[in-house]
Amino acid sequence: MRIVNPTFGISAAADEKLAVQPLDWLNDPIALFSNSKPNARELMDGLKAKLAAVRSVDNIDFIYKPSASQPASAAVIDEVAHKYRAALLALGD
């Protein structure tokens, strides 16, 4: 019996290459990325305070989606990818 795979599709990002480099958690810039749900900011504040105990937080920034009900735009994701070495996500609710 031959069936058609109902999950089949061609990846729109199939040609993109990912370059993975070592991350220095004590020095590299980090984005604290909020999904803009209630309490996400409080969660991120707590995380930033924890990080402040072990490293400088001058290059740790908050990033927000414009709305909890919409995905982040490609421009925002590109900005985070270029500017930061890691992104920590808050899924507050």
């Binding site: 019996m1 031959r2 990846s11 729109a12 995905p71």
Partner: protein, 346 residues
């Protein structure tokens, strides 16, 4: 049993329906109800109905895959679609892919929204979709299978696996299927798709990221204004997404309500204006914590009220159903759009 999930076709040993369903459930392809087997032959019969449609579909978020007509048809076969349903399924998916629909957000949300489908024009008769009594309920294959096919596509192509990508807190029964036809023959107003700029002879599918229908019972009112007051009261919900996110919503009049409202001189436009004004929610009905949260999101009251419909045109008006004094309010996700798409056929 399965050689590869990365291939379009999968060679399998012959198996019973029961064995296939067990395999599909294990693979995550199932909505929990029995599936038809998407054999190459069965899929081919559906694909034949869109043979002249060469426009690529997708990418479909969140997985961002470009499905083939075969993989879309495989989901339609599994849902129980007859071949003549398939162009409506493809059009419904395309309607969900316009950016304003916000498909990624509507699939990943904790809100229980599903993809409502309304068929307008000749396709209603070609598919035998139920536009009349019990149109939101059981009993007609087109309603069951077209809506289910779109939901299986969301599961298998978009990747909206429950409790994984689909984060719905409770979900809704509408996530199995939600498809009906407009009762154009008993409507006192122009059909929905004609009001949206299509020809009456066009076959059109309209989708909305919606909650299931909320019933509006009004047996007592004998005037248009009385019925509209009851409808507006049902729309004025402090706990809906629309109350602070606005956006589109449907009011689906039962034919008897619609005819009374129209008899008393209401047009679609004056119905929308009346409902927008009278469905406002006073801030005293909103919790202090919610008011603080919404203000923090720049979602402010207008004067002392929140308006579920940001503007009268947000209220989509249609007529469906049979005899009886009931209508339906269909709230939506909020940050979305009612999307209408012409159905292409060979």
């Amino acid at each position: 049993m399965i050689e590869s999930l990365d291939t379009e076709f999968i060679d399998m040993s012959d198996m019973s329906i029961e064995a296939f369903n067990n395999m599909a459930e294990s693979a995550g392809w199932s909505d929990g109800m029995p599936l038809y087997v998407p054999t190459e032959e069965a899929v081919g019969r559906l694909v034949e109905t869109v043979r002249g449609d060469n426009e690529p579909v997708g990418p479909v978020p969140p997985r961002q895959l470009m499905p083939t007509m075969q993989s879309l048809a495989a989901n339609a076969v599994m849902a129980g679609c007859k071949p003549e349903y398939f162009p409506a399924v493809v059009a419904a998916l395309r309607a969900c892919l316009v950016p304003e629909y916000n498909l990624h957000g509507t699939l990943a949300t904790t809100h229980p929204c599903t993809n409502m489908i309304m068929l307008s024009g000749p396709v209603r008769h070609e598919t035998d979709v139920n536009c009349g009594p019990n149109c939101f309920g059981q009993g007609r294959r087109a309603n069951a299978a077209i809506g289910r096919a779109l939901q299986l596509i969301m599961l298998n192509v978009a990747g909206a696996q429950p409790a994984e990508m689909d984060r719905a807190t409770q979900g809704s029964p509408g996530k199995y299927t939600f498809c009906f036809g407009e009762n154009e023959e008993e409507s006192p107003w122009e059909p929905y798709h004609v009001r949206k700029g299509f020809d009456a002879t066009d076959s059109v599918v309209t989708t909305l990221a919606a909650e299931p229908p909320h019933n509006i019972n009004d047996h007592g009112s004998n005037t248009g204004k009385g019925i509209l007051k009851t409808i507006a009261g049902t729309m004025a919900q402090a706990g809906s997404n629309n109350v602070y996110l606005n956006g589109p919503m449907f009011v689906v009049f039962g034919p008897e309500h619609a005819q009374t409202v129209a008899r008393d001189g209401f047009t679609v436009e004056t119905v929308q204006e009346f409902l927008q004004e009278h469905s406002k929610v006073h801030v005293s009905r909103i919790s202090a914590e919610n008011l603080e949260s919404w203000n923090g999101q720049d979602r402010h009251a207008v004067g002392e009220h929140y308006y579920p419909a940001g503007s009268p045109s947000d209220i989509q008006i249609a007529v469906a159903g049979g005899a009886g004094k009931h209508s339906a309010f269909i709230p939506a996700f909020g940050n979305t759009a009612a999307s209408s798409m012409s159905i292409n056929k060979t």
